[in-house]
């Protein structure tokens, strides 16, 4: 059963992914120390989303899964974005 679609990711790949994640964590802490006003929020969320993407693609193997998995993940985040975004039609215009 496991023969199909079995892809072994090397330890080396995982460790380099980890190094990048640690680096990004340091970056986000560092940026937060500079006062950029609203841009702080943008920067922090951009870094967080990059990290999340790396975790999903490598640690969670999404890079090696078939199209169904990728589309489904995309749709889920799209729906979440709609839920958050559309709520702002209300709260941003009160």
């Amino acid at each position: 059963m496991s023969a199909e679609n079995k892809h072994i990711v090397s330890y080396k790949t995982f460790v380099s992914v980890w190094v990048i994640l640690m680096f990004l964590t340091a970056v986000t802490v560092w940026i937060a120390k500079i006062d950029l006003g609203f841009l702080n929020v943008v920067a922090a969320l951009t870094v967080a989303t990059t990290k999340a993407l790396i975790v999903i693609l490598f640690f969670m193997h999404l890079k090696y899964e078939n199209r169904l998995f990728k589309i489904s993940v995309f749709i889920t985040f799209l729906i979440l974005a709609i839920f958050i975004g559309f709520t702002f039609f209300d709260v941003a215009y009160r």
Partner: protein, 395 residues
């Protein structure tokens, strides 16, 4: 602050119940999506799938993606009751309207969870009894997905009078009209399938046809509620109650009854008394309209919902409505009596009493363990009626 957070009734236990119930909805959706992707027979391509399965597939995605929002909402009620955090309490900086947002983000899609499968049932019944290939297969399949998706865009149309921003009222009112498109696609395709078909009137078809009629009334009154201007007039009146019952009872309910009458012989290997089935359908249909149509009228006149008492001018409407409820109840009792009795005493049927073309009618009734005797073979599309084998007693 939402009433559920400070009422002294034991809401905490109830919301935990809702939370657990949510698992069953989610796991059903999870199961159906995975099954459709992984357990379809290899030769059954996506465009060879019965449209009922398409409808269930679309529904399953709503169940997976919308139910968790209800989960967190009821969890927050529980947490608020326990710890008084104040996320929806204006005294502590919270915003009660956000609670309404969370509630409706789930609860609008929830009505699609109820009605889309019923639409799938109607899509199976109509071509079978029109003896005609379904009109617009791909459009119907796609419209199920479109309804599921559009359902996630419109929740705040329940909140026009809540105090949310006018911008939101405008946008959500506009978006609500979009949902009417895929729904209308289905209705037009059903009607087009019936056109020039060799129609056989059987109980399942009667239910399917009444679904179209009642659900159309439900849908069109929905547009009155969906446009912000008219909604202000009928908000929180019996008009809403009437609309809701035309969609959910006339839609989901009649679709469900249709499904019971359609697959009953497959499930039990016996046929119910068809004559009695038609009579109970007629009583049900008449009773339904006598019960719910007056609600639309007195709602327009201003009868508010959720009151046990009313002013004299609403008396006639309530009277007619009440009489309708008795007729409806009679029809329901008769229908269930007929079905229950026939489980053991109905006339025996073979594999395919209706001459339908989908795969389930090629296996014995009731189906054996694992559904089929040996590997089933896909020899025809789900709506190819040419040369379909039909039980002799019914041809």
């Amino acid at each position: 602050m939402p009433f559920s957070e400070f009422t002294t009734t034991n809401v905490s236990v109830a919301v935990i119940g809702v939370f657990i119930l949510g698992f069953s909805s989610i796991l059903t959706g999870l199961n159906f999506i995975t099954t459709v992707h992984r357990l379809k027979m290899p030769e059954m391509k996506w465009t060879k799938m019965p449209l009922f399965v398409w409808a269930l597939y679309a529904t399953a995605w709503i169940q997976v993606l919308a139910t968790p929002i209800l989960g967190i909402t009821v969890l927050l009620i529980f947490v608020e009751r326990m710890f008084g955090i104040g996320l929806f309490d204006p005294a502590k900086g919270g915003d009660p309207i956000l609670y309404q947002h969370l509630f409706w983000i789930y609860s609008h899609p929830a009505v699609y969870i109820m009605v889309v499968p019923a639409m799938g049932v109607v899509t199976e019944i109509i071509p079978t009894f029109a003896r005609k290939h379904i009109f617009g297969y791909k459009a119907i399949a796609f419209s199920s997905l479109a309804i599921a998706f559009a359902g996630s865009l419109v929740w705040a149309h329940h909140m026009y009078t809540s105090g949310m921003s006018d911008t939101a009222v405008l946008i959500f009112s506009f978006l609500t009209f979009i949902v009417a498109i895929p729904t209308a696609i289905k209705v037009f395709n059903w009607v087009a399938t019936l056109y020039k078909g060799s129609i056989v009137i059987e109980p399942p078809l009667l239910y399917a046809l009444s679904f179209i009629f009642l659900f159309s009334i439900g849908g069109l009154t929905g547009l009155i509620l969906g446009s912000a201007g008219t909604d202000i007039h009928v908000h929180d009146t019996y008009f809403v109650v009437g609309h809701f019952h035309y969609t959910i009872f006339g839609g989901t309910g009649f679709g469900f009854f249709g499904a019971m009458h359609y697959w009953f012989p497959k499930i039990y290997g016996r046929m119910y008394n068809k004559k009695l089935a038609v009579i109970s359908w007629a009583i049900l249909f008449v009773g339904f309209n006598i019960l719910y149509f007056p609600m639309l009228v007195i709602g327009m006149m201003g009868m508010p919902r959720r009151y046990y008492d009313y002013l004299p001018q609403y008396h006639t409407g309530h009277l007619i409505s009440t009489i309708g409820s008795w007729i409806l109840a009679t029809g329901l009792l008769l229908m269930f009596y007929n079905l229950f009795k026939s489980i053991k005493h109905g006339e025996k049927v073979g594999k395919s009493p209706w001459g339908a073309a989908t795969l389930e009618w090629t296996t014995p009734s009731p189906p054996p363990t694992l559904n089929f005797v040996g590997e089933p073979k896909l020899t025809r599309g789900p709506y190819d009626y040419k040369g379909v084998e039909e039980d002799e007693q019914y041809t």
